[in-house]
Symmetry: C2
Subunit: 187 residues, 2 copies
DNA sequence: GGAATGAGTTGACGCTGTCAACCCCGGCCG
DNA sequence: CGGCCGGGGTTGACAGCGTCAACTCATTCC
């Protein structure tokens, strides 16, 4: 089979997210882009937010893959830095989709989505653990430390994406913020 | 004069944000709550997003006030911690409004809004500077360090609010994350 | 062969943001 | 004093949206 309609709908929604943001993703536009009637999506998703949830789940897996790829680096510090760079690049290339993942209040509490998000975090957490055994990051509860890294990187991304902070040099510059974080954590 | 219609509209929008989230803020509901016709808001705001922008600007000033109040603490470390606790509490009490401030892509690029956001950051930055001179935080570019603190706290809040991360203990717990941050930064 | 099922369609509904036109009252100028 | 005029408010309309209901059609399975 050529690609199921469901998969096409998800891809179309992702594309519209990239080109027109959240507001650009109307069920009718998604349907038209796939070449079906305005009501066809309801055969595959409960409602609009379920479709967005499916996009998010797919993107969480994509993100996890990026983290796993970064794990290929031989030096653990480099691996973690590369993972961070990967999310940052992803967020810059697909801001609306990134925001959908972490900052969207409307997504359904789907267990699949939750699991994908958790797996994503876990992968990053493993990189952090490697850094700890290599002495690149301090000894501390690994989950907590990973949460801190996750939060800092996400926060920096979100602030830059929002653009509400720009105006001061050094603020809203993700790369500088993340670099400083690793610098200070090393002690 | 009793409170201008404009101020009432802003207050009504904020209340609706609290009770029904972003989606609950419809121009018509706001108007009805104030007791005017569904088109009256257009006499005071260009469009829906301009109204939300006004809510955001007001909330940024409120947040700044919280930071300034926290500055009253005698010990600089306690002051910064109190400031963080204040934002966290605010975010928990008004999640939709907090998200509007930092994670909403739809707000207008209004100079007043931008200035309010910047002033807010600046106030926090002063607390960080005090911590540095007191040796509670490491020597480093103050703006950069403030940006890191800002990003970490905001990131932790956003992750908890999103709830996408829950499931792992220690992840998504803002207070623990922030405590760990200050702990590690001290060295 | 007939029932059932899943994907897709058309048509309608109510709600939303927004535009246009009208109204009405207070202050200002001649 | 009369006229005007502008800001705040109103009603009415419009298109676009998510969603529901009913219908069609092909496939599959007893």
């Amino acid at each position: 089979m050529a690609e199921t309609t469901k998969a096409q709908l998800i891809a179309a929604a992702a594309a519209l997210l990239d080109s027109g943001g959240q507001a650009g993703v109307t069920l009718r536009a998604v349907a038209e882009r796939v070449g079906v009637s305005h009501n066809a999506p309801y055969r595959h998703f409960d409602d609009r937010s379920a479709l967005l949830g499916a996009v998010a789940e797919e993107d969480f897996r994509r993100l996890q893959q990026l983290f796993e790829d970064a794990g290929g680096e031989t030096e653990s510090g480099a691996a973690l830095r590369q993972a961070c760079a990967a999310v940052i690049g992803y967020a810059r290339r697909h801001p609306a989709r990134y925001r959908l993942l972490f900052s969207d209040p409307g997504l359904p509490p789907d267990p699949g989505l939750r699991e994908a998000a958790f797996a994503c975090f876990l992968t990053l957490s493993r990189l952090v653990a490697r850094c700890q055994t290599d002495g690149v990051l301090p000894e501390a509860d690994t989950v907590g430390l990973s949460g801190l890294v996750y939060a800092a990187v996400h926060g920096a991304i979100d602030l830059e994406l929002g653009g509400r902070a720009s105006g001061a040099k050094g603020l809203g510059d993700i790369d500088a913020t993340v670099a400083l974080l690793f610098d200070l954590l090393r002690g």
